[in-house]
């Protein structure tokens, strides 16, 4: 059994007295030493899925309405608040997109990491501080023993994101969820941060879920990819086999939408239209309004998950078919 198994996860938002599904029958698994890339555009449910795993979907408007999330043999959805708290930040940690806003500006970065360590492990402040210095040097912050007393505003965006990584790693988590960890960073810094994460993974065997909108980032870092569109996994496969032959028209559209640095194109093949809003009720495949090869069938029936090739699943009635 894999470290994390998400089965038929359903998340709904209640708005205007109705329950609107935002994540529908999403399933995937991640194991030690593995990086799962979840790619999709905003509103596709990728971040909500991550928050659901982390148990951060509190509140009444967004809630999990079905499915199961099993982590290390435990069912995360039935844990008590207390049990959940002992896992989050400890065995499972998350890095958020915005290194600018996810650190508290009025506390020294060292104290913020110490707080997390002491929450979960019996350590004196001095021990925890040593551990922080060690972590900061692990994430390649120069002069860690001095920078431990820095405030967030004294660090650059890349350094702050490294601090976030250090904080996430402070209790040696088994699973690290990184939600757009490098989106706010420069490309050269992005490369450093991604290299760092890969390096830490080989050293510690952490399982990583990397959420990104950038197919390039996903392609370079992940072993497995799940492409999400409007709350569903449109296509999932091992990275190599996915990019070898894209089965879902949305994935192809996404790839063709990306302006690339290595060649010239006159016009990008943008996917027409936009992601339908939650209020819009859709029949059939969620992608059919934007799909060039949609047929009558796509309008009426939601495609089932089918195996396109071995280990390459797709939710499309006509997988692999390029529109004429």
């Amino acid at each position: 059994m894999a470290l994390l198994e998400v089965q038929n996860l359903e998340i709904a938002v209640s708005a205007k007295g109705k329950l609107l599904p935002v994540v529908q029958s999403v399933s995937f698994s991640v194991d030690d030493n593995e990086t799962l890339g979840i790619v999709g555009e905003s509103g596709c449910g990728k971040s909500l899925t991550a928050l659901a795993i982390m148990g951060l979907l509190g509140g009444t408007t967004v809630r999990i309405t079905g499915g199961s999330i099993r982590f290390d043999g435990m069912d995360l959805l039935t844990l008590s608040e207390r049990e959940r708290r002992s896992i989050m930040g400890n065995q499972m940690a998350m890095i958020f997109q915005e290194p600018m806003t996810s650190l508290n500006p009025v506390y020294r970065i060292g104290d913020q990491i110490i707080e997390n360590i002491r929450q979960h492990q019996k350590m004196t402040k001095a021990q925890a501080r040593d551990r922080v210095v060690e972590l900061l040097s692990l994430v390649r912050i120069p002069n860690p023993s001095e920078r431990v007393d820095s405030f967030p505003h004294q660090m650059s965006g890349g350094q702050r994101q490294r601090v976030m990584i250090a904080m996430a790693l402070s209790c040696d988590p088994k699973l690290l969820i990184a939600d757009e960890p490098t989106t706010a960073l420069d490309v050269t810094v992005q490369k450093e941060v991604l290299d760092l994460m890969a390096d830490l993974q080989t050293r510690m065997g952490t399982a990583i879920i990397l959420i990104s909108h950038d197919l390039g980032v996903i392609s370079e870092t992940s072993n497995k990819v799940a492409v999400m569109y409007r709350g569903r996994v449109a296509e999932a496969a091992e990275t190599e086999s996915l990019f070898l032959e894209l089965a879902h028209p949305y994935t192809r559209g996404l790839l063709n939408s990306m302006p690339v640095v290595d060649s010239d194109v006159d016009w990008l093949e943008a996917i027409p239209g936009r992601v339908p809003t939650l209020e819009e009720e859709l029949t059939g495949c969620a992608f059919h309004p934007r799909c060039a090869s949609a047929t009558e069938l796509c309008l009426t029936t939601v495609p089932k998950e089918t195996e396109f090739k071995h280990g390459h699943s797709v939710q499309c009635h006509f997988p692999g078919k390029v529109a004429p």
């Binding site: 905003s42 050269t188 990019f243 790839l255 996917i271």
Partner: protein, 270 residues
């Protein structure tokens, strides 16, 4: 090359930081330190670089959002860089800016028609609301939006739609030079492609010149004719798009290009 529409000579913007101590040394931060370039009519020049390299400051000094420290900026032969704001006002219609953050750049209290209509009245392009609404409706269609949306407020729109509105607000004035500061950076890939195609089409159809400021080299390659790479307040390399991307001369350009994560596709095999 024809007479340039815009030529920048030795543009500088230095910031003075306050010292922590009463008699301590003040530091000078050279955000833009001697930048020169020209943009021909109908040309798209991209300024590319990482955050803090000064690329946005260049755009902001050219639209008088910030006062430049020194230098010259000639727009159709007229040096406007050091103009007072009243002298610069007639040029504001000609030099327009598209901002990065579609959530911050639209006034949340104004309806879309007010946001798009106000500049029309200010610059005297319309005298009645009926006329303005007609123009707004045509413009909204041009940027791919339903004209009915003019009655709505910004919060009702997605990022991509807001950016289209931002583009409409600029294009409705028929400017000669558009400065686009990270105009598509906040958008999703599929929406970004649409907006990029839109910007490119509007630029080609109207023949406006554009200073396209971006950190994204893929986007830059797609949209520009020429590219200037900035690093630490200076242009380290400037040239035709193909020269920069196919045969980068400066080491920093090469480092930038090699840092980009690339999709390893099966496309090459097919």
């Amino acid at each position: 090359m024809s007479e340039p529409l815009l030529s920048i000579v030795d543009l500088k913007k230095h910031y003075h930081t306050k010292s922590l101590w009463p008699f301590g040394k003040k530091q000078v931060i050279k955000a833009v330190d001697g930048v020169s370039f020209e943009i021909a009519p109908g040309e798209v020049l991209s300024l590319v670089g990482e955050s803090g390299c000064g690329k946005s400051t260049v755009g902001r000094t050219l639209t008088h959002l910030e006062q430049a420290t020194s230098g010259h900026a000639l727009f159709e032969g007229q040096d406007f860089l050091m103009m007072s704001s009243s002298e610069f006002r007639p040029l504001r219609r000609e030099i327009q800016m598209i901002f990065q953050d579609p959530f911050a750049s639209l006034n949340p209290r104004l309806k879309i028609e007010q946001t798009l209509g106000e500049p029309l009245f200010i610059h005297g392009l319309c005298s009645t609301w009926e006329e303005a609404r007609n123009k707004i409706a045509i413009m909204l269609e041009t940027v791919g939006m339903d004209p009915m949306v003019m009655k709505r407020h910004p919060h009702e729109f997605s990022g991509g739609q807001r950016q289209r509105i931002g583009i409409a607000r600029v294009m409705i004035l028929k400017p000669k030079l558009v400065i686009a500061d990270e105009a598509v950076s906040a958008l999703d890939v599929s929406i970004q492609a649409q907006v990029l195609n839109l910007i490119k089409k509007l630029q080609q159809d109207s023949g406006i010149s554009m200073l396209f400021i971006s950190h994204d080299l893929g986007v830059v390659r797609h949209i520009s004719n020429r590219v200037a790479v900035m690093h630490e307040g200076k242009i380290v390399e400037i040239g035709l798009k193909n020269e920069i991307f196919e045969a980068p001369k400066h080491e920093y350009t090469r480092k930038l290009l090699s840092s980009i994560p690339r999709v390893k596709t099966g496309r090459e095999l097919v």
